[in-house]
C-alpha cells in the first residue's frame, strides 16, 4: 500500500542523519562548536518522525506501507527501485535505532567533550544511523545490501576513530574484512534470487520463493546466513567483534551491542518466508546460534578487559537470538523481544562501562578497578540493573525474553530441542558467572586503582541516558512479553501467536533457570568475590582457562588457515610475476631486440627492435592472407 500522510515522508528518517553527516564532514572546523548538537538533533528528530509514523501505522488496517522513491538501476530484466517498506518489523527497528541512538548521541556529548575530533565523531555516528535505517527500511535486498555495507563503513570509521593507534586501525580493518566475507554470502544470495526469480524486491522474492526447488532455497538460506554471521559476529566470523572494542565506548554501545550487530537477526527474521521453505537452513541457523552463545559465554569468563567481557557477552546474547529465529515461527517474536531488551540493557552496560573508564583514566583493566560503588553511585545502580536484566533476574527484562527463547527451544520436543535448550541453560549459568565476576571486580572489594586515579561520577549529560536505559532494562521485558506483547504487534509479519503445548512446565523451567543463575552467581562469589583479586593475571592456569582467554583460538585458526598462507601465496606470486611472466616476455623481447641490456637502456636498440617488430608483423600479415585465401 502506498504511503500517505507522515509515512510518505519516512525517507526523512534516512535523509536527516545523512544530511547531518554531510554537513559535519564538508563543513569542517567551522562546525566544530555546534556539530555535536546538530548531530544529536537529527537523530532526535528521526526518533520523533519514527514514533509518529509508528503511531500512524498502528491505526492502519493494512500494516505494510511502501514509499517509492526513484529508479536506482534499471537494465535488461533487472529493475531495482529505491523504495522503503514501513511495516511493524521495520518500525520496531526504527524505534530501537533512533531511540537508543538518540540517547547515545546525548551521552557522547559528554563523553567526547574533550576530544579534538568530536565533530568527526558525530558525523560518523550520523552516517551510521542513516545507513542502519536504510538497512531496516529498504524494500528490496539491494537496498538492504547498500545499508548493510554502509553500516560496515561507519563501523570501520568509528572503530578506527583514534586512528593514530595501530591497534584501533588494525581492529577496524579486521572488522571490515570479516564483514566483507559475510557480505559476499549476502551478495551471492541476491544473485541467486535474481537468477532464479528475476527480482530482488522483498515482495517479489517472498511471493514466488515457493516455486523454487528445495536445494536452491536452502542455498539462498545458507548464503543469507553467511552474511548474517559476518555482521552479527556469529561463528565462524565472530573474532572481529571483541577487537572492535578499540572504538570509543558509545560506539561499542550503539553499533557493537544494540543495533548493527543485530542486523543479522533482522535479516533472518525478515526472510522468514524464505526460511519457512528450508528446514535445513533453519536448523543451521539454530546450530550456529547455539555454538556461538556457548563460545561467547566461555570467553566472557576469562577476560579482564571490561569491554571485552561485555563484547563476548554480546556475541553470546546474539547467539541466543539466532537460536530463537532459527526455531522458526515459535522463536521469531522471542528472538526479537530479546533483541529489544538486549538493546536496552547492553547499551546501558556499555555506557556504564564508559562512565567507569571515564572515572579511571580510560583504563579498561578490571584488575585495577574495585570498590567503585561508593564513588560512582549512579553508574553503580544503573549498571547493576543492566546486570540483573542480563543474567535473567526474575521479573527484569532478560528473565522474560531469554527464558522465552529457552522455552521455545525445549518446545521443539525432540532430542535436538533438549540439546539446544540444555546448552542455552548452561550458557545462562555462565552468563551469571561472568557478569557477577565483572560486577565484583569492578564495583566491590578493596580498590586496586593505579596511582593518580581519582574516580568521580560522570556529568548529568552522561548519567541521564544511563538512567533511561536502566529503566528500559528493568521494564522492557515485561512490557514486550506481557503488557503490550510484541507478538501482537508483529502478527502482520509473522502471523498470530499460537498457543503451544509446553514440554516442560513453565514454572519448572523458571525454577531451573533461577537455580542455574544463582549457581553462576555463587560460583563467581566463590572464585572472585571471596578472594583478593591479583593485580596481574595469574600466568599458570589450566588449559581450559588458557583456551577461554584465547577465545577458543578463533584468531589462531584464522591466522594459520588464511592469513599466513595468504601472505605466503602473495609473496610467491609477486616473485613469479616479476621473474616468471615478466621475465619470459622480457626474454622474448630481448631475443628479438638483441640483448636484455638494450631493452633496459632503451633508445639505442629501439629502432632495430621496431624494425624487427615490423618484419614480424609483415610475416604475420602474409600468413593471415594465406590463411584467409585458403579458408
Amino acid at each position: 500500500m502506498p504511503a500517505e500522510g507522515l509515512l510518505a515522508w519516512s525517507w526523512l528518517l534516512i535523509a536527516l542523519p545523512l544530511a547531518g553527516a554531510a554537513i559535519l564532514l564538508l563543513g569542517g572546523r567551522r562546525t566544530d562548536r555546534w556539530g555535536h548538537l546538530l548531530g544529536t538533533g537529527t537523530v532526535v528528530a528521526a526518533f520523533v518522525i519514527g514514533l509518529l509514523g509508528t503511531i500512524q501505522l498502528a491505526g492502519l488496517d493494512k500494516k505494510s506501507v511502501g514509499v517509492d522513491l526513484f529508479t536506482f538501476i534499471n537494465v535488461g530484466s533487472l529493475d531495482v527501485r529505491a523504495g522503503l517498506l514501513f511495516d511493524p518489523l521495520s518500525a520496531a527497528f526504527v524505534l530501537l535505532i533512533t531511540g537508543v541512538g538518540a540517547l547515545i548521541h546525548i551521552y557522547s556529548i559528554g563523553y567526547m567533550a574533550h576530544d579534538p575530533g568530536r565533530r568527526r565523531f558525530f558525523a560518523y555516528l550520523n552516517l551510521f544511523v542513516a545507513a542502519m535505517l536504510l538497512l531496516v527500511l529498504g524494500n528490496s535486498f539491494v537496498a538492504l545490501y547498500v545499508g548493510w555495507e554502509g553500516v560496515g563503513l561507519a563501523s570501520y570509521l568509528l572503530i578506527a576513530f583514534w586512528y593514530t593507534r595501530p591497534a584501533a586501525a588494525t581492529a577496524a580493518k579486521k572488522a571490515f574484512i570479516m564483514n566483507r566475507v559475510g557480505d559476499v554470502g549476502l551478495a551471492l544470495a541476491i544473485f541467486l534470487m535474481f537468477s532464479q526469480l528475476g527480482t530482488t524486491s522483498y515482495a517479489g522474492v517472498f511471493g514466488s520463493i515457493g516455486t523454487l526447488a528445495g536445494g536452491t532455497i536452502t542455498a539462498i538460506g545458507l548464503l543469507l546466513l553467511l552474511g548474517a554471521c559476518g555482521k552479527s559476529g556469529q561463528f565462524p566470523l565472530q573474532a572481529w567483534l571483541p577487537d572492535a572494542m578499540e572504538g570509543p565506548t558509545p560506539v561499542s554501545a550503539l553499533i557493537h551491542a544494540a543495533t548493527m550487530v543485530t542486523a543479522g537477526v533482522y535479516l533472518i527474521a525478515r526472510c522468514a518466508p524464505i526460511y519457512d521453505h528450508t528446514p535445513t537452513a533453519r536448523t543451521v541457523v539454530m546450530l550456529i546460534g547455539a555454538i556461538t552463545l556457548l563460545i561467547g559465554a566461555i570467553a566472557g569468563c576469562a577476560y579482564d578487559d571490561i569491554k571485552k567481557v561485555l563484547a563476548y557477552s554480546t556475541v553470546s546474547q546474539i547467539g541466543y537470538m539466532f537460536l530463537a529465529v532459527g526455531l522458526g515461527p515459535a522463536g521469531y517474536v522471542a528472538g526479537l523481544a530479546h533483541l529489544y531488551a538486549h538493546g536496552f540493557f547492553k547499551a546501558g552496560l556499555f555506557l556504564g562501562a564508559g562512565s567507569v573508564m571515564h572515572a579511571m583514566n580510560d583504563s579498561v583493566d578490571m584488575r585495577r578497578f574495585g570498590g567503585l560503588w561508593k564513588k560512582l553511585p549512579i553508574t553503580f545502580v544503573t549498571f547493576s540493573l543492566g546486570y540483573l536484566a542480563l543474567i535473567g533476574f526474575p521479573f527484569l527484562s532478560g528473565y522474560w525474553t531469554k527464558d522465552a527463547i529457552i522455552e521455545a527451544a525445549f518446545d521443539r520436543g525432540d532430542t535436538l530441542g533438549y540439546v539446544l535448550g540444555g546448552v542455552a541453560v548452561f550458557a545462562a549459568g555462565l552468563t551469571a558467572f561472568y557478569m557477577t565476576r565483572l560486577m565484583l571486580m569492578t564495583f566491590f572489594g578493596p580498590p586496586r586503582w593505579e596511582e593518580g586515579v581519582h574516580p568521580h561520577e560522570a556529568p548529568p549529560v552522561m548519567t541521564a541516558p544511563m538512567i533511561v536505559l536502566a529503566v528500559g532494562s528493568v521494564g522492557a521485558g515485561f512490557a514486550l512479553v506481557r503488557a503490550f506483547p510484541l507478538g501482537t504487534w508483529l502478527a502482520p509479519v509473522f502471523g498470530e501467536p499460537k498457543e503451544t503445548t509446553h514440554v516442560l512446565a513453565p514454572l519448572t523451567l523458571t525454577l531451573v533457570l533461577v537455580a542455574v543463575m544463582l549457581l553462576g552467581v555463587g560460583l563467581a562469589w566463590l572464585f572472585v568475590g571471596r578472594r583478593e583479586v591479583p593485580v596481574i593475571a595469574p600466568a599458570r592456569v589450566s588449559p581450559v582457562v588458557r583456551a577461554a582467554r584465547n577465545a577458543l583460538y578463533a584468531d589462531t585458526v584464522n591466522e594459520s588457515l588464511f592469513m599466513r598462507p595468504g601472505q605466503w601465496l602473495t609473496r610467491a606470486l609477486v616473485f613469479f610475476d616479476n621473474r616468471g611472466v615478466d621475465g619470459a616476455v622480457n626474454g622474448m623481447a630481448a631475443t628479438l631486440g638483441g640483448s636484455s641490456a638494450r631493452l633496459g637502456r632503451a633508445q639505442t636498440g629501439f629502432v632495430r627492435t621496431y624494425a624487427l617488430g615490423m618484419l614480424g608483423g609483415a610475416v604475420l600479415v602474409a600468413g593471415a592472407l594465406l590463411a584467409v585465401t585458403a579458408g
Binding site: 580493518k173 535474481f194 537468477s195 578499540e246 580510560d362 610475476d577 616476455v585 617488430g613 608483423g617
Partner: protein
C-alpha cells in the same frame, strides 16, 4: 544542433590546441597551461552538448560523419558514436581537464618543458576521441597506433627514474599487439573484397559479412590479442605496472583510466559483432583469463610495496571484472561492464591522483616510507579513503553499481566464474585497506617527518596493554601540508561524480544499454540474466 559536426570538432579542437601550445615561445609556460585547460574544458562542454544531441534508443550510430579518405582501398574517415563510445567520450572530457589541473605544478625532469607536456596531453586527447569515435576499422587502427606516440613521450620524457625502460616496454607490447591486429584488419578487408565485390573497412558493412568459423577464429584472435594486451588481461599485463608506476601521474591517470579501456571497448565493438561464432567459441577461455586475472592481480596488488604499482595491479584486477561482464553475454553484465569502464576511470583516476599528491609531498613511492598522514592532512586522507572505497566498490560509490551489474548479470550465465570473481570483493577490501592503514593511519612516521625531530621508535606505541581513550600523542611533527585549493578543485569533481553516479546511475545506464543490447544481438545471444537458459 544535431547537424553540428561534433566528433570532427572534438578531434580537431584538442589537436589544434596541442599545436598552439607547442608553438608558444619559450617562457610562456603559464599561458600554455591556461590554453590547455581552456581547450580541454571546451572539449568537455562540447561532449556534454553532443550527449544532449544524442538520442538514446535511436539509431545505433549517431552524430555520424563520413568522408572518403583512401579511395583505392575503400578507407573512409568515418566517425559516429553509439552509447558505449559516447560515455567513453564523456569520461575523456572529464578526465583531461582534471589531469591538466593536477599537473599544473608538476616538477618535471630537468630539461623538459611544461609546454611540451601539455601539448602531448592535448594530442593524446584528440587521438583518444578518434579511437572511440571511428566507425571505419582502418581509421580505428590508425588512431589505435597513433595514440601510442603521445603516451610514449609522456612516459618516456616526463616519467620517473626508469621511465625509458617503461616507455619502451609499453611501446613494444602495444606495437606487437597493433601489428597482429593490422594483420587481422587486412584479413577482414580481403574477406569483404571476396564477399562484397569491393573491399571495405566500414564497420556496419563488415558486421554483415558471413565469415566461416575457421577464419573467424583467426581474425578474432588477431583483434583479441591486441585488445588483451591493451586492456590488459593476465598474462599480457606485465607492461602496465611498469608503465603505470613510471608515468607522470597525469599520464598514469589517462593510461589506466582511458587508454586501457580501448582494449575492453575493442572486445565489445569489434570482437563480438564481427566474429560472433568465434566469440562464442572463445568465451569460456576468455572467462578463465578474466577470473584468473581478477584473483591473481588482486593478490599481487597486496604484495606491492610501491603505491603506483599497487594501483596498477588493482586496475588489472578490475579489468578482469570488465572482461567477465562482456563475455558473460547478458545485457545486464555487458551494461555493467561498460559502466565499469567509466567508473573505473573516475575511481582509479582519483586514486592515482591522490597517491600522486602524496608522492609529490614525500618524494617516495614506497608505502613503507609513509605513516599516520591522516593526522596532518585530513583532507588528503579523506580523498584517499573515498577513492579507495570506490575502488573496493562500496555501495554509495559509482563502482558498486557497475560491479553489482557485472556480477548479478553474469551469475545466471556463468555461475562458477561469478562465484570465483566475488572472492575479488574480499581481496579488494584487503589491498585497499592495507595501503590506507599503512600510509594514513597509525602514529606519524616516515619521510614526511620533520628532519629536526628524530622519529620515535614506532614499537613504543604498540607495546603495553593499557588502552588509552585519547589519541596517542603525536611526538614528531609531519612536514606534510594538506590539499591546496588547486588540489581540492581537482579531486572535488571526481568525488562528486563518484558519489552522484553511485546514487543515480540511470542517466549513463540509459545511454549504454541499447548499444550493449545491439552488440549482443550481433553475437546472436538473447542476453538475459534470469530464468531459463539463454545460450
Amino acid at each position: 544542433m544535431s547537424s553540428f559536426p561534433f566528433l570532427i570538432v572534438l578531434i580537431a579542437l584538442p589537436a589544434a590546441g596541442a599545436a598552439v601550445v607547442a608553438a608558444l615561445p619559450r617562457g610562456r609556460e603559464l599561458l600554455a597551461k591556461q590554453v590547455a585547460l581552456a581547450v580541454s574544458l571546451l572539449v568537455l562542454v562540447l561532449t556534454v552538448l553532443a550527449t544532449v544531441a544524442f538520442h538514446a534508443g535511436g539509431a545505433r550510430f549517431q552524430l555520424t560523419t563520413s568522408v572518403s579518405w583512401i579511395a583505392s582501398f575503400g578507407v573512409r574517415f568515418a566517425l559516429g558514436v553509439d552509447g558505449i563510445a559516447l560515455v567513453m567520450l564523456l569520461l575523456i572530457g572529464v578526465l583531461v581537464p582534471v589531469v591538466i589541473g593536477a599537473s599544473w605544478d608538476d616538477e618535471l625532469p630537468s630539461g623538459r618543458s611544461m609546454r611540451a607536456y601539455f601539448a602531448w596531453l592535448l594530442l593524446l586527447e584528440a587521438m583518444m576521441v578518434g579511437v572511440f569515435a571511428a566507425t571505419d576499422v582502418f581509421l580505428f587502427y590508425v588512431f589505435f597506433e597513433a595514440m601510442l606516440v603521445p603516451m610514449y613521450f609522456l612516459i618516456g620524457s616526463f616519467g620517473g627514474p626508469r621511465r625509458q625502460y617503461a616507455a619502451v616496454k609499453f611501446f613494444l607490447y602495444s606495437l606487437v599487439g597493433g601489428l597482429i591486429m593490422l594483420a587481422a584488419v587486412i584479413g577482414l578487408y580481403v574477406v569483404s573484397n571476396s564477399q562484397l565485390g569491393a573491399g571495405t573497412f566500414a564497420f556496419d558493412a563488415l558486421r554483415q559479412l558471413d565469415i566461416t568459423p575457421g577464419v573467424q577464429k583467426l581474425l578474432f584472435l588477431g583483434f583479441f590479442i591486441a585488445f588483451a594486451i591493451k586492456a590488459p588481461l593476465v598474462p599480457f599485463h606485465t607492461w602496465l605496472p611498469d608503465a603505470g608506476s613510471e608515468a607522470p601521474i597525469g599520464g598514469a591517470v589517462l593510461l589506466v583510466g582511458i587508454l586501457d579501456k580501448v582494449g575492453t571497448f575493442g572486445f565489445l565493438r569489434y570482437c563480438l559483432p564481427l566474429f560472433p561464432d568465434a566469440s562464442r567459441a572463445f568465451a569460456p577461455a576468455v572467462l578463465v583469463l578474466a577470473v584468473a586475472g581478477i584473483l591473481y592481480a588482486a593478490l599481487l596488488a597486496m604484495g606491492q610495496s610501491d603505491m603506483k604499482r599497487l594501483v596498477s595491479y588493482t586496475s588489472i584486477s578490475h579489468f578482469g571484472f570488465i572482461a567477465l561482464g562482456i563475455f558473460a553475454f547478458t545485457t545486464e553484465a555487458g551494461t555493467g561492464a561498460v559502466l565499469y569502464m567509466v567508473n573505473h576511470g573516475l575511481a582509479t583516476g582519483l586514486l592515482f591522483l591522490v597517491v600522486g599528491m602524496l608522492i609529490a609531498r614525500g618524494g617516495s613511492r614506497q608505502i613503507g616510507d609513509y605513516g599516520g598522514v591522516a593526522a596532518k592532512a585530513p583532507l588528503l586522507a579523506g580523498a584517499f579513503l573515498i577513492a579507495g572505497l570506490a575502488s573496493l566498490s562500496l555501495p554509495g560509490t559509482n563502482s558498486f553499481v557497475s560491479e553489482f551489474l557485472v556480477l548479478i548479470g553474469s551469475f545466471h550465465a556463468v555461475p562458477v566464474f561469478t562465484i570465483l570473481a566475488t572472492v575479488g570483493m574480499v581481496l579488494a577490501a584487503l589491498y585497499i585497506l592495507l595501503m590506507y592503514q599503512r600510509t594514513m593511519q597509525g602514529p606519524p612516521r616516515g619521510v614526511l617527518l620533520e628532519e629536526s625531530e628524530a622519529p620515535e621508535p614506532v614499537s613504543a606505541h604498540s607495546g603495553g596493554t593499557a588502552t588509552v581513550t585519547a589519541p596517542a600523542p603525536v611526538r614528531s611533527r609531519l612536514r606534510v601540508l594538506d590539499l591546496s585549493r588547486r588540489e581540492l578543485a581537482v579531486v572535488a569533481p571526481l568525488i562528486a561524480l563518484i558519489i552522484g553516479l553511485g546514487v543515480y546511475p540511470q542517466p549513463l545506464l540509459r545511454l549504454i544499454e541499447p548499444a550493449v543490447h545491439a552488440t549482443l544481438s550481433d553475437v546472436g545471444v538473447s542476453g538475459t540474466a534470469t530464468g531459463g537458459t539463454h545460450r
